[in-house]
């Protein structure tokens, strides 16, 4: 979709009424009435407390909510001004809410915020997810200060998470992004993040970004674009990761579409992944993230059953995606009893790289390739849960690090597959 259809007249009109700003905080929304008021108030409090001298604006890019999300954004801003006059604020804090065109999509929301950052010449910009009900005013400082004070271009978050939260992130998205693009970004698909005006201008000016915005995973493309273009990266600890009660955990297939599809597709768009540089750490501001170990009720048996039935039922389909030897190993794995089951790092990495190469060659419909990965991911998640059942945080981190190193070690295997040498 061309940019004109995302940036509606209404949106541009709202932006023009603001004028130039120093800081911009964007909140993409779609039917988030339950949480948006609280989020806007926390953002306002953060801006007033930590950036009193800067000209700032909160931009709510809405996808066409039907539940009065926009009205709540406007009301929250007004109420906040009336009830809590800010003693520290030296500048006017604008707050606008406008709809972007083309219907609700996270990529379009991000594109509208990037456009706003570019058009208002803001030097730093943060994006806050409307799901983040536990947001604190300090988040704004943690995200924006590395950009304003230390000259970083992209700040991604790190959170204190439960050791079994974000399994796809820890078993695939993080290790593979790290192996391919040589930067240790823990959350390459961030919910909250900040970026410099320079990065916003470069991304907004890039040919084809309006089209990228149409696809799932625009946030992942932003991270990869920043890495491959040599921008300065940092991470900021934001506290605990929780999500709004109204949003249940995402379906695995949807999560694979959002996180893994764009990652596979990025291999076609960013040839920089072929560099053999070892991965470099990215500085973390605000302390080290920790894993929480509270007991969690998880239906492991279901994961195991879905892996077994998936391998059995999809064998002819998997045959056209992975190599014969990998399929044979998967079938052997599927025939094992629960207690002997282990989808080891090496086999998992080979499976993923073979899926990525098949995705590149589009051996079948690409969405079908991603869907066919779901049962295998469940098998891997089962092994992760089993392996780390009694592990403390450090041990879990060691296991994730070992997986990352396996992804890096097997990168030549992916290159061979890519070039048709295997």
């Amino acid at each position: 979709m061309p940019e004109e259809s995302i940036l509606t007249d209404d949106f541009l009109h709202e932006l023009m009424s603001v004028g130039e700003v120093d800081l911009l905080v964007g909140v993409p929304t779609y039917n988030d009435a339950a949480s948006i008021g609280q989020i806007v108030q926390a953002i306002r409090a953060g801006l007033v407390k930590y950036f009193p001298r800067q000209r700032a604006v909160i931009v709510n890019a809405d996808g066409g909510s039907q539940d009065q999300t926009q009205e709540l954004v406007r009301a929250a801003s007004i109420n906040d001004l009336q009830q809590a006059p800010s003693p520290h604020a030296l500048r006017t804090l604008h707050s606008i809410s406008a709809r972007y065109g083309g219907g609700p999509a996270s990529g379009r929301g991000l594109y509208a915020i990037l456009a706003a950052a570019d058009l208002l010449h803001s030097s730093a910009c943060a994006v806050i997810s409307a799901d983040s009900t536990n947001i604190e005013p300090e988040w704004i400082a943690h995200l924006l200060q590395p950009v304003c004070r230390d000259g970083f271009d992209l700040v991604t978050p790190v959170y204190h998470r439960h050791k079994f939260d974000g399994l796809l992130l820890r078993n695939l998205v993080y290790p593979m992004t790290r192996a391919l693009y040589a930067r240790q970004v823990r959350e390459p698909y961030p919910s909250e993040f900040a970026f410099s005006g320079r990065l916003a201008t470069q991304i907004f000016g890039q040919e084809g970004w309006a089209e990228e915005a149409e696809q799932d995973g625009a946030k992942l493309y932003l991270t990869i674009s920043a890495i491959t273009s040599g921008f300065k990266l940092a991470q900021a600890l934001l506290g605990n990761k929780t999500r709004a009660q109204s949003n249940p955990p995402a379906d695995v297939v949807d999560a694979l579409r959002e996180g893994v599809g764009p990652l596979f597709l990025s291999l076609d768009h960013y040839p920089a992944w072929r560099s053999n540089a070892p991965s470099e750490p990215v500085p973390i501001f605000g302390g080290r993230p920790e894993l929480t170990l509270d007991p969690l009720r998880i239906n492991r048996k279901r994961l195991y059953d879905l892996f077994r039935s998936g391998v059995e039922e999809l064998a002819p389909l998997l045959n056209s995606i992975v190599s014969r030897s990998t399929l044979r190993e998967l079938q052997q794995l599927a025939s094992r009893e629960e207690q002997d089951f282990c989808y080891c790092d090496e086999l998992w990495v080979r499976t993923i790289y073979e899926f990525a190469a098949s995705y590149h060659r589009a051996v079948i419909n690409r969405d079908h390739i991603i869907q066919a990965l779901a049962p295998l991911y469940r098998g891997r998640a089962y092994t992760f849960l089993l392996e780390n059942r009694d592990s403390q945080g450090e041990e879990v981190e060691r296991n994730v690090e070992a997986l990352c190193l396996t992804f890096e070690k097997f990168k030549p295997y992916l290159e061979d597959l890519w070039d048709g040498r295997r």
């Binding site: 698909y189 955990p249 995402a250 996180g259 279901r302 998936g310 389909l317 779901a374």
Partner: protein, 234 residues
């Protein structure tokens, strides 16, 4: 007597020569039509092949799983197959036009019918081809959706989808060709009805408990539907 015989013979010879004189140019025109038709068909084939490559028809065919089927049966790629088909249809059309020029008595109506039938043949072949593509694509989509939803019989669902779409496209092709229209229509109706009736019976009687659980989960307590193991993947 002899003179009359000679006259008749010379008249017959002249008749043959006259007929030959009339026929030879027509034969020549026929041959030229066939040769030029062959060349024109080849040009059309090249154009069709280029257009299909331009629109990445093989990718579409890969997506739908038709390429795998063609490879298994040692047939060329979809683009190649379709462009060759167009070549033969075009050339046969030219050959029929050429044969028509010969003016053979009794052959003309049949040739006209055959020429008029060619577009319907092309349409029928296209219907079957795209029907098989759609059957392959949607049956695979159904298989994946059923596997990922943890359904008890993913292959049965997938086969049912494939059979339905294949039967539908073959019926439409037969209707286009005008072959046994009524029979095909009735047969299709019977198969389609039987399939749905069978599924309804299997779901309602054989899987009473399953149906009950499904309907309860879907409509009675929509908020309590099980999500992916209470874990957030991202």
């Amino acid at each position: 007597m002899w003179d009359k015989f000679v006259v008749e013979l010379s008249q017959a010879t002249q008749e043959i020569i006259r007929n030959l004189a009339q026929f030879l140019p027509r034969l020549l025109v026929t041959l030229i039509t066939v040769v030029i038709g062959g060349l024109a068909a080849w040009v059309i084939e090249v154009i069709v092949r280029s257009v299909l490559r331009l629109v990445k028809f093989d990718r579409l065919s890969d997506d739908a799983g038709a390429s795998q089927f063609l490879r298994r049966t040692a047939l060329p790629s979809s683009t190649e197959l379709l462009s060759r088909f167009v070549f033969w249809v075009a050339w046969i059309g030219f050959i029929l036009v050429g044969v028509n020029v010969l003016g053979i008595v009794g052959l003309e109506p049949h040739i006209s019918k055959l020429v008029a039938y060619l577009p319907r043949l092309v349409a029928a072949v296209c219907l079957i081809f795209f029907g098989l593509l759609a059957a392959s694509f949607f049956s695979r989509a159904a298989l994946l959706a059923a596997v990922n939803a943890g359904s008890p019989s993913p292959k049965l669902i997938s086969s049912a989808v494939r059979t339905l779409i294949t039967v539908l496209s073959v019926s439409m092709a037969f209707e286009e060709l005008g072959l046994a229209e009524q029979t095909v229509l009735i047969a299709f109706g019977l198969i389609f009805g039987a399939l749905l009736f069978g599924l309804a019976l299997a779901f309602g009687l054989g899987g009473q408990e399953l149906a009950k659980r499904f309907l309860e989960a879907r409509f009675a307590h929509p908020k309590q539907r099980e999500h992916e193991d209470e874990l957030s993947p991202l």
